[in-house]
Symmetry: C2
Subunit: 459 residues, 2 copies
């Protein structure tokens, strides 16, 4: 460890200090120490504690403070810790959280544990939370918050200002850009910006100055539609209604961005074989190992199937053992070329720059790249093979095989995400294994069948 590493403002191993404080049971000291850490340091320190230490820590904090600490902990970890607390403790903490964060954590927990916690909450709050949980996480209902300002449309400006003034403290966390106006049946009837209040007569009613029939979205609308919505309308929030036009929540554009980012990250993880949600090293060995293995075990079967092509050509291989050197090269290179095309297609699909049915367009575009890159790479490999063995035919065989297979893998990689999307399969999860298997088989076939044709010259 060098000089630089030791000179840090923040403690080297905050979890060790945390462990010492937990032993003393001094909750004031605990708070003082946690206050001195950044949110990321706090999350790091907590993730390094044993399960019993984690529960001890959250039991020592008052629910509102505990809720703040939970803000920084990744959801999967927060859910795990929550499950270890008593339902009463957990309910008290959940109650202090912002509504969207509540739903995110509860969604990661076992149904039983969720029920136990809900039964400890105030019936009204429990009802509200249950309603939030009933919406899919990628719908408007799943990303909305219920901290917003809504007043009956018949209230006067004076009355509203009075309420705002009296409840300043509790509204301080609210995103108070807009005031929503509702009628007697809680139906959304209008909206106004908070600074519209500045310029209105104090005796006017909200209904006199509100913008009628405001833009709103249904709780059942999906992430894509919401993205479209915020792309179209530069708003800092949109009200959410149920089927009966009743106001049920508010969506902030940040929430959509967050949900989209989450999806990008989970795509990325799926693509690299981390399936079933994020993996953290604080999870148990068996859990982590099992999740990775679930994907690897499918992969090894596919690999064995692909390699069976080689079995079929064993005689050719025995006649020209040098070919064995090139089989893994061609397999790996075509996997890489193909995955580049997969990545570009996945990105264009996400951005809406290509539509799932435009297979021919993508195929046309990728075949030309496959041709250019296949020619370049094939030539390079052919030269290497010739120089090594001084045999033109060996160079011709491996060069031609790499070129042919680059065309196959780039074209296939380009269209596979589109085809999978139309088949309602997840490209991030399925494209890469399918691609590698097919291109391996084709690659082995090209090398070995070309070699069979000129076997006498390869010896």
């Amino acid at each position: 460890m060098n000089e630089d590493d030791r000179i840090t403002i923040h403690p080297e191993k905050p979890w060790e200090i945390l462990q010492d404080i937990l032993k003393t049971g001094n909750s004031e000291q605990l708070k003082t120490f946690l206050d001195s850490l950044t949110q990321i340091e706090t999350a790091l320190a907590i993730s390094r504690l044993e399960v019993e230490e984690q529960t001890a820590l959250f039991s020592m904090l008052d629910p509102s403070y505990a809720a703040d600490v939970f803000e920084g902990v990744p959801e999967e970890q927060a859910a795990d810790i929550m499950e270890e607390l008593t339902p009463t403790q957990a309910a008290a903490i959940i109650d202090e959280m912002e509504s969207d964060h509540q739903a995110d954590i509860l969604a990661e927990m076992d149904d039983e544990d969720v029920e136990a916690i809900l039964s400890e909450m105030e019936p009204d709050d429990a009802e509200e939370t249950r309603a939030m949980l009933s919406y899919p996480p990628d719908s408007a209902g799943g990303v909305m918050i219920n901290e917003y300002l809504a007043y009956p449309q018949d209230m006067t400006i004076t009355e509203v200002l009075e309420d705002l003034h009296q409840n300043r403290e509790s509204y301080v966390d609210y995103q108070v850009q807009y005031i929503y106006c509702i009628d007697g049946s809680e139906r959304l009837t209008g909206v106004l910006r908070i600074h519209d209040l500045l310029f209105a007569a104090k005796s006017a009613k909200l209904r006199d100055i509100m913008i009628r029939n405001p833009l709103h979205v249904l709780a059942t609308e999906r992430l894509e539609q919401l993205q479209d919505f915020f792309d179209e309308h530069e708003l800092v929030g949109v009200p959410v209604t149920d089927e009966e036009e009743r106001l049920v929540g508010v969506i902030l554009p940040q929430a959509i961005e967050e949900a989209v980012e989450k999806r990008t990250v989970s795509q990325f993880l799926d693509f690299t074989g981390i399936v079933g949600g994020e993996e953290f090293r604080s999870m148990s060995l068996w859990n982590r190992s099992g999740r990775r293995l679930s994907w690897l075990s499918i992969n090894i079967i596919l690999n064995i199937i692909a390699a069976s092509v080689i079995v079929y050509y064993q005689e050719t291989l025995a006649g020209a053992i040098a070919l064995a050197v090139f089989l893994p090269i061609i397999s790996d290179m075509c996997g890489c070329s193909g995955n580049q095309a997969v990545a570009v297609s996945m990105r264009e699909l996400t951005l809406g720059l290509v539509r799932p049915r435009e297979v021919w367009r993508v195929l046309g575009k990728e075949i030309s790249i496959g041709l250019v890159n296949g020619l370049a790479l094939g030539l390079l490999l052919a030269v290497v093979a010739m120089l090594w063995k001084g045999n033109y035919f060996l160079g011709l065989v491996v060069g031609a095989a790499l070129m042919a297979n680059t065309i196959v893998s780039v074209s296939l990689g380009g269209i596979l995400p589109l085809v999978l999307k139309r088949l309602k399969l997840d490209p991030a999860l399925v494209a890469s294994p399918v691609l590698t298997t097919v291109t391996d088989m084709c690659g082995f076939f090209f090398v070995l069948s070309f070699a069979t044709l000129v076997l006498a010259k390869l010896g």
Copy 2:
């Protein structure tokens, strides 16, 4: 094409309609049609036009409308189109854009083109834009906006309200949650929330009710520090100052989220071999092919180096040709296992759940996974090999080799991102090629050296 595909609300191929309208040169018709498209459909349609059609389109629109249309176009494409317009046209459009979007697009353009555009702008605006461009894109200066409300601290509430009222229309796009107060030298001295104006005496001065010494960040601070800042402080915006405490911009938390998402996506693309920024199929063949090839050509060299291990063991291979079937399997499987570990480490690094110097911790955690998964996969492959050839030694060799190499690749994959980070190299770009090369070499070595030991029994 089936029934379902034809029944769409939106036009099948909006770019064809667009092409027809462009031929008529009717700009009203053009606007009406663009208004009917969502932002994503617009971006898609524009990306499908020829270069001349794109410039014709933007020349037909007034600058403010053109700026709105550009909002939805990916930055790389927007920059390409901008370069084709005359500097005068481009400057007029840029001038109508939000400041952060301006900087993003200009940063993608050639220096010459940027200079040509800046020289067409009002000197003051050009100066401001030049200043924005001088900050790196992942610094506070690079993500800040300059649409905000700042008033001299000696102004009265009445004067401020008057200005707000008079300029309502131009402030409508501003993120008016806060009002910033400055002194005579433009130094930031205070802040107040816009609704604080509601409760203040009209004759009071801003300095009487502002919060003094407000939280602020320096223009040079990096993305990580800004993320920390917004994690710590639940604010809807933070003022940015230069070294002399002068107010130069405002950062919205959304801008940080966007920048972080951009980085995640570019990590993801780097990881799959799409280097040098996003690739779109609307780019030229040579550009796309060259960018992919730059990465592939390094990869093929690394592959050839790895495969040279096989050359060294050609005799062993000739003695037991069945081994050639297992070489690509072991190479591919260990690449997959290793990349899983790379992905988990990259994720934990991004989230701050592991520190670059905690190599031993990660190594300990990954070795156990390598052991468990290596055992499982090795056993499976051993059984397959035995059943195929009825030779226990063949099973033993390939099973043991896969197990040993899984341990190597999982451990290496886990620590590589940490090590690369400490060496100031980009894990997303470097980890995967290095990993694959090393694990290929080890894998070939394990299979072939184990086989050499029991060669007599493999025949």
